[in-house]
Amino acid sequence: MWKEPRRISSVARGNDMSKKPHDTPLLDQLKEGPWPSFVEGLKRLSSDEDKPYAGMMKDLLGQLEHSYENRMGYWKGGTVSVYGYGGGVIPRFSEVPDKFPESSEFHTLRIIPPAGLHYSTDLLRKMCDIWERHGSGLIALHGQSGDIMLQGCTSENVQKAFDELNEIGFDLGGAGPALRTSMNCVGHARCEQSCYDEVRTHRTIINGFLDEMHRPALPYKFKFKFSGCPNDCVNAIHRADFAVIGTWRDDIQVDQQEVQNYVAKVGRKYMIDVVITHCPTRALSLNDDDTLEIDNKSCVRCMHCINVMTKALSPGKDRGAMVLIGGKRSLKVGDFLGSVIVPFMKLETDEDFEKLKDFCETVIDFFAENALEHERIGETIDRIGLANFLEGIGVEVDPNMVNHPRTSSYARMDDWDQEVEKWRARKAEAASASEAAE
């Protein structure tokens, strides 16, 4: 049961370096088995008697064992931050500080990793050294939003730990009603299926809106995620308010010789069962000479055939990205997947990136001004309707935004002719633009 906050003075914490460890018979059972054990790690830290965190980790193990015994959690929130920022630290105060005084303050610092989660051992070692001096020694790589989570810091040490991390290039991530830390897939760095420069896009967007991350003032959280292709390895459609996903507009690139090699290796039946018939829009056909025919106009760029035949097939050359907005989990109206808002945009020139950044700003501003408190942007769209949202952010309708047109007749359509005119005008404009380009 929840109790009033209780602070333990640093005097009461004591400096007894040879503090006796708590018995942890339940946790000890998680030391066994072939998978790496987090309990062994916690125990190692608790027995580092010459380190400042040994006592804290003994009590942390004690509290965790207490949870395992009673099947209840014993942390509560509070307010802890670093100078100049309003978020990024997750405060945790124990509800059982009398039993486990040294881990009574066990805050997390959410730290933004290098985009794409690339590290040199030197950088990781420096981070560990700082956390050895000021924290618990416990680090999660990585949290669900993509943060390095430095778990276990006293209120007193939060600023010290952050200052040193900040000096070697790390910044604090997002928490609360704010722009959150983002993620991109490995992408351009080591994947041939990548359709845009994920690192540049990720850093351009997030670093362009750091004020929204560090000084939380949005109605609720706002998450970006960046996946290089429709395989969506960072789960952007489900998990991001704003998903940027790579795709292409022209034809799949085919190396017919490699297609034939593949068929020769796996056999025609396997090729038909596993590649041809798995195509969701029946766009594939196997020719009599074991080459592949692709109806590219019917292709929805799902990636399946490219995933299976990595040597023979690759995404087209006219690559770019699409934007889906509104993904989120249950709270409070139910689960949403992001839905298509921008079916395609190029991401190559400085102007392209500037255009995406401006668009993000428009969407964030719309969210800030129109979402209700504690409402995700997907819920706002659900509440006001997609058409109103599009009008609010200045995006024209596109049939790629829907699975199918409306099935309900209950709508007022007396401006039908004006809307048809808009569509025709846009089509004419697009036609003359493409003529001019040729």
Partner: protein, 359 residues
């Protein structure tokens, strides 16, 4: 304020530039990769347009790592790889090397140090998990312990690629579901309305915000024992726990009432079928630390039914889509109850409005 006590202003640097930390071959061939294949489970081989090749060895970690584990990974990277590590979204560590000859010693070293090599292709990768009792303020269960127990059991499916397609498992310690969607998801399911400590509500909770948080409008203001508090219409309450984070005196957890549920068929990728949400299969499983054996039993039952019956490249949800839910419940031996029928917004779209049935 004197010079000495002037607080340090943060350098608002944001997302770090990864290029100084990236493996040199990845940096050199950024955006220039041509194709890839896999030498063995856990080993990727990428070839660039210019002819450069890089080998990547993937190894599982416990995610919640102590300094010594991270330093050990660094030692391995310095001794057997080329000083660089990257991580996947599922907490696997990846080591890049520039020659095939370095692969076998690296694999051996990782295995000797207790890091399983695998998690690629049609394997069961590391379970994505949340904070649980270790660090969350509202958890119904632990996360690291559930994952450790399951991965001990599924270790053999991590180090080989013998599944029909990749299997992504997630866990979440409350119904907010921070763990996200998965082929198999193990999530907390509360079974009782919150127990309210009326002495504390007035001082601790912003009551209108708590009332607004309830998805079924079951919370209303009340005076209890002369103090301003909140009450819950327990007939309306769906026991979701949404009121608990903004109002800790509305305790949603109980050692017996907090249960676990298993969901299947969530998929992030757009490959073949569109992304999907996971669907309920089993609820009412006991929250049983330290190893949650009842959960493991259900998960392995589902997993091996999928392994035995699905076609190559079918994800869990796609397999069920083909064989139908009646056959899924038959093959797994799991019961179908009234609780499997959705009654939330849009539920009608989940009903079978056709003559398509399976016998």
């Amino acid at each position: 304020m004197s010079e000495a006590t002037q607080p340090r202003r943060p350098i608002e640097s944001g997302v770090m530039d990864p290029f100084p930390y990236m493996h040199p071959l990845l940096k050199k061939n950024y955006g220039q990769w041509k194709w890839h294949d896999r030498l063995r489970p856990g080993v990727l081989h990428h070839v660039a347009h210019g002819g450069d090749e890089v080998w990547t060895v993937r190894a599982g970690t416990q995610r919640q790592m102590d300094l010594h584990t991270i330093r050990k990974l660094c030692d391995i990277a310095d001794q057997c790889a080329e000083g660089h590590i990257r991580f996947t979204t599922r907490s696997n560590a990846e080591f890049m090397v520039s020659s095939e000859a370095q692969v076998a010693p690296l694999v051996e070293k990782l295995q000797d140090e207790g890091f399983p090599v695998g998690g690629t292709g049609a394997s069961v990768s590391m379970i994505s998990h949340t904070q649980g009792w270790l660090h969350c303020d509202i958890p119904g269960t632990d996360a690291s312990g559930v994952v450790k127990s399951l991965m001990d059991e599924l270790h053999k499916e991590f180090i080989q690629e013998k599944m029909p397609n990749r299997v992504r498992i997630t866990t979440s310690c409350c119904q907010i579901n921070c763990g996200g969607q998965g082929d198999i998801a193990i999530n907390v399911q509360y079974t009782k309305p919150p127990k309210i400590n009326h002495d504390l509500v007035g001082n601790v909770c912003e009551r209108p915000a708590v009332i607004a948080r309830c998805p079924v409008a079951a919370i209303r203001p009340a005076m209890v024992n002369g103090k301003p508090s909140l009450e819950v219409d327990e007939k309306k309450c769906v026991c979701c726990g949404a009121c608990y984070p903004p109002c800790p005196p509305m305790q949603i957890n109980g050692p017996e009432s907090t249960k676990l549920a298993v969901w299947v068929g969530g998929k992030h990728s757009n490959a073949r079928s569109k992304p999907t949400f996971h669907k309920l299969v089993v609820a009412g499983l006991p929250n049983n630390p330290p190893r949650w054996p009842e959960v493991t039993e259900v998960v392995t039952t589902i997993l091996y039914a999928y392994k035995k019956n699905a076609r190559h490249w079918e994800r869990m949800g796609e397999w069920i889509e083909r064989i139908g839910w009646p056959r899924f419940f038959e093959l797994t031996g799991l019961p179908f109850t009234k609780h499997h029928i959705d009654d939330w917004r849009g539920a009608r779209k989940t009903l079978n409005t056709s003559t398509h049935v399976y016998f």
